[in-house]
């Protein structure tokens, strides 16, 4: 029972981990990207489009499909989509110095629109005979778990039974934590987000850092969307199914105090919190809905406590949300 709970909680946390790791990297450059929910939809639909086209090209027969390409094509499509979104965001907020909140929200509208539009119209657009998007073949490859998963009891169930994107999410977060705290690039990036004028004076190319971190952050967040549709949802796209996970990822950034390794812990905790209502069936649907509030309430509590304690290391990057213009001082 407990191992089943943990096993089912982990997949719920993975998109959040991707989303929050991506958002942390972006926020570290001083950009509050509220477009992340939209970007995750685009990452998701990008993978779906890639897989859909490839499956169609192979005549929807598993035997015709090259396993490597089956994984690789959706992955590349997903990354391309989310990086493109990241580029739009950085062009507007970095180069054109547009308001970050407004740009982000517009991008979320746009991205969710893209996701649902192609999700709902793809079959029509390519005149496919597949009315709904069910990519079970691609999904089955994406869901390959580690060997011995079903032989090692609870250990296998909790730690080995997941898809490769789940493990990759943890690796990405760990790498991000390492890069941010232990490398020169990370130091420079944090400086850009804290005090861009200082970073500029130190010879750091502020614009380049902002662009690259936003795009990498978007790419990582997009993978969360891909993991959701390919592994968690068994390759079945349905509109709005991804829901508010993008916003929860942004909440998680606060919860994790802008630290990717804390985000690992937090995302699986959030996953567990989201999972609680599935295990409390006796409470009825209404009360289950109340339990879904938990991650947000926990985030609020963390937000309040950190602002009350005013510990400098736990605050958002100092120039978060502010545009930088060198000659404006």
């Amino acid at each position: 029972m407990i191992s089943a709970f943990i096993r089912t909680a982990i997949p719920l946390g993975v998109p959040l981990l991707y989303g929050s790791t991506g958002e942390i990297i972006t926020e570290k450059s001083g950009h509050l990207n509220l477009g992340i929910p939209g970007i995750m939809y685009v990452g998701s639909i990008g993978g779906v489009i890639g897989a859909f086209l490839y499956e169609n090209a192979c005549g929807n027969v598993l035997e015709n499909m090259n396993p490597f390409l089956t994984i690789f094509i959706p992955l590349i499509c997903s990354l391309l989509g989310s990086i493109l979104m990241g580029l739009i965001y950085s062009f507007l907020t970095v180069t054109l110095r547009a308001n970050q909140n407004v740009t982000g929200l517009a991008l979320t509208t746009f991205g969710i629109g893209i996701g649902n539009f192609f999700g709902g119209s793809l079959s029509k657009l390519v005149n496919s005979d597949m009315p709904n998007i069910i990519l079970t073949k691609t999904s089955s490859l994406y869901r390959t778990s580690l060997p011995f998963a079903d032989k090692l009891g609870w250990f296998g169930e909790i730690f080995l039974s997941h898809d490769f994107l789940t493990y990759f999410s943890v690796i990405v977060a760990l790498v991000a934590a390492f890069v941010l705290n232990r490398t020169r690039v990370g130091l420079n990036l944090r400086a850009v987000g804290e005090n861009p004028a200082t970073a500029d004076a130190a010879g750091i190319n502020v614009t380049r850092y902002k662009y690259i971190s936003t795009c990498i952050g978007s790419a990582i967040a997009g993978l969360g969307g891909l993991q959701y549709v390919m592994a968690y949802a068994n390759g079945v796209w349905s509109n709005n199914a991804f829901g508010d996970r993008g916003w929860m990822a942004i909440a998680l950034v606060i919860f994790a105090l802008w630290k990717p390794n804390m985000a690992i812990l937090g995302s699986f905790l959030f996953g567990a919190l989201c999972n609680v209502n599935n295990y409390l069936t006796g409470l009825g649907t209404a009360t289950q809905e109340l339990f879904k509030m938990l991650p947000y309430v926990v985030t609020l509590v963390v937000l309040i406590i950190t602002s009350m304690r005013k510990k400098r290391e736990h605050q958002p990057p100092q120039s978060l949300g502010l545009p930088y213009f060198r000659e404006e001082r």
Partner: protein, 519 residues
């Protein structure tokens, strides 16, 4: 000349829109010397140095480093030419440690903080800095932050160091330490360019002095062959005969009594320490001191903007003779008491006025609550705005122009005009002529004198001792948050005040440091 110039500027010009910041400036600095760049506020010193350090790019002219023409388009280019600048406003990341700030932006192979910390310590030991490489910036004092800035440029192997008004924020002891370090660096063969407008420091530290005036290059002299008066003449153009009128008022009576006020800043450091004085009606009380000695906090305490730890600010109502304690009140409560207290703060566009609002709306800042009802009354403020524009010759298209579009002098006229229009009984002005041209400055002096004649208690915080001595009746000297002296401006000398500004402060320091001091 046997030594080749380490850095040479030829005919540098820089314009910002219609404003000429630098015009045909030429300059040389040699190895192993300290060059002072002397000039008043707004003479273009900082702009010039920003062009050497890659923040701005010159519109015209050439820069030569070691005899070769250099193009410095970014701070990174400046590093490549081994130029390091220590800005007046420190460019440090607060949540980083000293070492993290020092290695920021560098590319020196493997990233190893431990190694870097060691190297930082070595530099500190070499020149005699006191610095903990692991200390976070936000826990540091101003002087420690400056040390980090200097070590930062040294770490990068800078040969040419530019310091922008490094002493403005330091105590005399800290200045002495800084100068000792600078001299050591000179011995080490480095070029040091120090921007300042303090003559005594120029005389003490530099080998040569280059003078700028209103963006123009005036000339360079050897310090050993010049005098303070010659430098002053170069700096201001002619001998200063300020010729400020000082009237003698009758009916000088106490108006404001400050009793033993104490005040701490957010970090818990004491910024006002047992300050007591009396400001009289019909008198201009000057306040002299090194920048940041507590002048701002003192005025804000009186205006009800600072939370005091203890003490009282007693106001004697000229009509009733009643005494009110202002120390526990907010600005609104003070106004409701009928105390007409006007305050021209140092930060004009950040505090006294709202840059994005027009002149009329800025007039309302003091009076918008007037009148019954929920709505604003714009008629009276509009009249007042027109009145001030006419009387004080404010150059503006109309009264509906946002004040941020006015020039510095006109901004100040709008602010002072508004504060005087409230027919105050107490008028406080912090650095009211800073950055203003001569004509505007004199207009402000005259306005202050008029107020004094009207029987207002005027408190004037200034930085130019000549002005303070010519304008004020009495001068209060403040150092490190303490009152270090009170002199009669009619009899006191500049030296006397200069001494008071620094002497007692040093004593206060030695109290704190015990017997540590021995040189």
């Amino acid at each position: 000349m046997s030594t080749q110039a380490a850095i040479e500027l030829k005919n540098i010009c820089k314009r910002f829109g219609p404003v000429v910041a630098n015009n045909n400036v030429c300059l040389t600095a040699n190895r192993g010397e300290i060059l002072s760049i002397l000039g008043e506020n707004g003479s273009g010193k900082t702009t010039l140095m920003n062009m050497i350090s890659g923040i701005y790019f010159p519109d015209e002219g050439q820069i030569f480093i070691n005899g070769e023409e250099a193009v410095i388009a970014s701070p990174k280019d400046a590093f490549d030419y081994k130029i390091g600048m220590i800005h007046q406003h420190f460019k440090l990341v607060d949540v980083f440690t000293a070492t993290e700030n020092i290695v920021l932006g560098l590319d020196e192979g493997k990233y190893n903080l431990k190694e870097a910390e060691k190297k930082v310590q070595e530099i500190c030991d070499l020149y005699g800095f006191e610095l903990d490489p692991k200390k976070k910036i936000y826990t540091m004092s101003v002087s420690e932050k400056q040390t980090v800035e200097i070590v930062k440029v040294l770490y990068r192997g800078a040969d040419i160091l530019i310091l922008d008004e490094p002493t403005a924020v330091l105590t005399p002891i800290e200045i002495r330490k800084l100068f000792a370090v600078l001299k050591k660096m000179r011995e080490d063969g480095k070029v040091i360019i120090i921007i300042t407008h303090k003559l005594n420091e120029v005389m003490e530290i530099s080998d040569r002095v280059s003078v700028l005036r209103k963006g123009e290059y005036i000339g360079t002299v050897n310090t050993s062959e010049t005098s303070e008066s010659e430098l002053t003449e170069m700096m201001v153009g002619k001998k200063i005969d300020l010729n400020i009128e000082r009237t003698q008022s009758e009916n000088v009576t106490p108006r404001l009594e400050v009793h033993h006020i104490n005040c701490s800043n957010r970090e818990g450091l004491k910024v006002l320490d047992d300050v007591s004085f009396v400001a009289n009606a019909g008198e201009i009380l000057g306040i002299a001191g090194i920048a940041g000695s507590g002048q701002r906090e003192l005025l804000e305490s009186i205006a009800g903007l600072q939370k005091l730890d203890s003490g009282a600010v007693l106001y004697r109502n000229p009509k009733t003779g009643k005494m009110d304690n202002l120390a526990t009140k907010t600005p609104l409560q003070i106004r409701e008491l009928g105390v007409r207290l006007s305050f021209v703060p140092e930060d004009r566009l950040g505090m006294g006025l709202v840059g994005n609002m027009d002149i009329v709306d800025n007039m309302m800042l003091r009076s918008y609550t007037k009148g019954k009802g929920l709505f604003l009354e714009r008629k009276a403020p509009r009249d007042l705005a027109e009145h001030i524009i006419d009387d004080l010759e404010v150059v503006t298209p109309d009264a509906n122009t946002p004040v941020r579009r006015l020039s510095g002098g006109n901004v100040q006229k709008v602010l002072v005009g508004r504060e005087i229009a409230a027919s105050p009984t107490v008028l406080m002005a912090a650095y009211p002529v800073r950055g203003l041209d001569i004509n505007s400055s004199y207009m402000i002096y005259n306005l202050l004198n008029q107020q004094k004649e009207r029987g207002v208690a005027v408190i004037f915080v200034g930085e130019d001792l000549d002005v303070l001595l010519a304008l004020c009746d009495r001068i209060l000297v403040i150092g490190s948050g303490r009152i270090t002296g009170l002199v009669d401006a009619r009899t006191a000398t500049k030296e006397e005040i200069g001494l008071l500004m620094t002497k007692t402060e040093a004593m206060a320091q030695s109290d704190d440091e015990g017997g540590e001091q021995n040189g």
